[in-house]
């Protein structure tokens, strides 16, 4: 009987200690794991940091550049940002190298008084004397936006179809499985080429995104469906079902938390895939010709033979931005892989 009292004392004192250390516990259980995790899984953090830096650069660049005076006296241009449309430089300033590049003058033979002053054209101009800094600043959000729309739609459609297939089983499951099996073996990009050609109109950035989602959702659907099938057989889902929980409640309360890593990974993968495909389509000449997206810049680079002209600034900067986008998405998805598949962690 003395022992019973002892145990009660013990638990009470434990509780008191816990209460006193609540913030300690909060740190230990909520904050510390993030640090521990980022040490174990640096690729996720590095990837997010790269993408964040790129976005920050774009936002600051856009805000700053829109305040600057245009290069011309053309009243239709309010700021240097408009320069991509009609070419911002005074006539005669064709293919201007970046203003800080002293060794580039050999390439373009500048007239003495046309020599750009410091930061006049931070990334030079193309052969149409479009300001490439403005072009890139406008292009990054366009390209990312296309990928984002395609990614969101793909994962949305993919998740819903995966749940419909797993929940109703039977005929819907067979149809959706067949559709994804077939869809995966048809290269979506080629279908898009045909559609775009037959439509005869140029696709705006968000239409391109929607088009990419229309052919890309099969990949998300496949990933999520296979995971839903695994979860469906889990004991806790079985218990929830037998205790009379509704289908939607099971999906959102029991399955969703475990699916989040896979859905997120699938989202990142489909954003990356869509950006890759969108740049490809645009490089083939199927983009919006009035848009300065990164893919269209690549198209112009190939069209005008910028490489053979020696105009490295025309392609190097968009290339660098594209590389940053892809490498950061790659690192994020590698990090997410480790999140959803803990076995991979040990090895990194």
């Amino acid at each position: 009987m003395a022992r019973a009292a002892d145990t009660r004392n013990l638990t009470m004192s434990t509780r008191a200690r816990l209460a006193r250390r609540r913030w300690g516990v909060f740190y230990q259980e909520r904050i510390e794991p993030i640090f521990l995790y980022s040490r174990r899984n640096p690729s996720l953090i590095v990837g997010l940091a790269m993408l964040g830096t790129l976005l920050l650069f774009t936002v600051i660049g856009l805000l700053g550049y829109s305040q600057l005076e245009p290069h011309t006296n053309d009243p239709s241009q309010n700021s240097r940002l408009d320069a991509y449309v009609s070419g911002g430089a005074p006539v005669g300033d064709k293919r201007m190298p970046p203003s800080w590049c002293t060794w580039c003058e050999d390439i373009v033979e500048l007239e003495g008084d046309k020599k750009p002053t410091l930061f006049q054209y931070p990334m030079g101009t193309d052969t149409q004397s479009r300001d490439l800094f403005a072009t890139n600043l406008r292009g990054i959000p366009l390209t990312l936006g296309t990928g984002l729309i395609a990614g969101l739609l793909s994962v949305g459609i993919g998740t819903v179809t995966a749940f419909v297939a797993a929940y109703y089983r039977g005929v819907p499951d067979v149809v959706i499985r067949l559709l994804t099996d077939v869809g995966i073996s048809i290269p979506g990009l080629l279908i898009l080429i045909i559609i775009r050609i037959q439509l005869g109109t140029e696709l705006l950035w968000w239409q391109l995104g929607a088009g990419l989602a229309a052919v890309g959702w099969v990949f998300s659907s496949r990933t999520v469906r296979s995971q839903v099938l695994v979860l469906r057989e889990q004991p806790y889902v079985e218990i929830a079902r037998q205790s009379g929980m509704s289908g939607l409640a099971i999906i959102f309360r029991e399955m969703m938390p475990n699916l989040i890593p896979y859905i997120t990974a699938s989202f990142v993968a489909s954003v990356a895939g869509s950006i890759l495909a969108s740049i490809g389509l645009e490089a083939l000449g199927l983009g919006d010709f009035s848009s300065p997206s990164l893919g269209m810049t690549v198209y112009w680079v190939i069209q005008f033979g910028a490489i053979t002209l020696g105009m490295w600034w025309w392609w190097l900067f968009p290339l660098a931005f594209i590389v940053i986008i892809f490498v950061s998405l790659f690192l994020i998805s590698a990090g997410l892989d480790e999140w959803s598949n803990p076995r991979l962690r040990r090895q990194v």
């Binding site: 080629l190 045909i194 790659f330």
Partner: protein, 360 residues
């Protein structure tokens, strides 16, 4: 690939061997048949999508284009007029849609893609035959090399007994896989063709050289193929390496790997016969899925290097809106892809004893 994978994961097969043997026999007895049906279905769906979607808009840019070309006059005008008439008669929008569809499918079944608009009177098939040789040569070699090199690299990277510096050495390679092939091509072209001037930057052989079976010409072709091949290779090697690395790590967590160690087997045997042999299976399944993505990337590399393969031909067809040629090339690529995927799926049971065609 999907069918085999799902069957293999079916737990019912593993728990009851006797009924499982009967079940596998019943299913894989017509596995080949089923796989061929899936191939037909894939091609049919692709063809139907290409047929239906443009018709939803109610416009007929093909006809407009044909009429435009016919009006332009010149020596081929008569032929163009004929073509426009035939097009209206067989696929014109004023026809009932089912009739258009039947005509369209009949042509497709005969692999008849009609005349090229831009290069009339050449047929699309002639143009495709000219260019597909170059594509097949470039793609099969590079994609095969990439698979072998990448899988090997990934196996070493994922092996827990590999030296630690290895993962640092391969880091740049893995990052390369994240960069689109044509971007990589751009950089390679700039460095090796423009700055260093070591290699040619366009075409499949030097202009003025005529295709012939001589050593000089073969060397010329190889020199021209190096840069586009490297562009495809770099990115694809990383892709396979990443996949294999993950599978190796997963495989090493399996019980049979611990048991292999407990048996005191020598390290090489465990690495090759136990780890790689098992990790390779999903890689091969992945091969089928990744063909499409890798191939589309390679199409753009061809455009960049003006390599006279299917991709480059497609690019020029797009520029002049040569609808018949575009459809022909796209369908050719889709059919070859579906065939490659089917071959991989049919070969798969040979390397995975758990999947069988028929009862032995």
């Amino acid at each position: 690939m999907t069918t085999t994978a799902t069957r293999r994961n079916n737990p019912a097969l593993n728990t009851k061997p006797n009924s499982a043997v009967a079940f596998i026999a019943a299913f894989f007895g017509n596995f080949i048949v089923q796989r061929f049906l899936l191939f037909l279905l894939t091609v049919w769906v692709a063809a139907t999508v290409i047929f239906i979607l443009p018709r939803l808009t109610g416009q007929d840019p093909v006809k407009e284009k044909l009429l435009l070309e016919a009006q332009r006059g010149g020596s081929v005008q008569a032929g163009m007029n004929e073509m426009a008439k035939e097009y209206s008669a067989r696929l014109g929008l004023d026809l009932p849609i089912q009739e258009q569809y039947i005509n369209y499918m009949t042509d497709l079944a005969q692999l008849d893609f009609g005349y090229s608009i831009a290069y009339f009177p050449r047929t699309v098939n002639e143009i495709i035959l000219d260019s597909i040789v170059w594509s097949i040569g470039l793609m099969t070699v590079t994609l095969f090399l990439a698979f072998v090199l990448g899988t090997g690299a990934g196996a070493l990277l994922g092996w827990s007994r590999s030296p630690g510096w290895l993962s640092y050495a391969f880091m740049p390679l893995l990052t390369l896989s994240a960069i689109p092939q044509y971007m990589l091509g751009l950089v390679l072209m700039f460095i090796f063709a423009i700055i260093l001037n070591w290699l040619p930057f366009f075409g499949a052989y030097s202009p003025g050289n005529l295709p012939e079976w001589s050593l000089g010409f073969v060397l010329d072709v190889l020199r021209h193929a190096i840069l586009p091949a490297l562009a495809i290779l770099f990115s694809a090697v990383g892709f396979w390496a990443i996949g294999m690395r993950g599978m190796m790590i997963n495989t090493q967590g399996e019980d049979f790997m611990i048991q292999a160690d407990a048996k005191g087997l020598n390290g090489t045997r465990i690495f090759v016969r136990y780890a790689i042999r098992n990790a390779l299976l999903p890689q091969v399944t992945g091969l089928a899925i990744s063909f499409g993505t890798l191939l589309t990337g390679a199409v753009l590399v061809e455009v960049l290097f003006q390599y006279p393969g299917l991709g480059n031909t497609l690019f020029y067809a797009i520029r002049v809106s040569d609808f018949f040629q575009i459809t022909g090339i796209v369908m050719t690529i889709i059919i070859s892809l579906a065939m490659a995927t089917m071959v991989v799926d049919l070969v798969y049971p040979l390397i995975d004893p758990r999947v069988k065609y028929t009862q032995s």
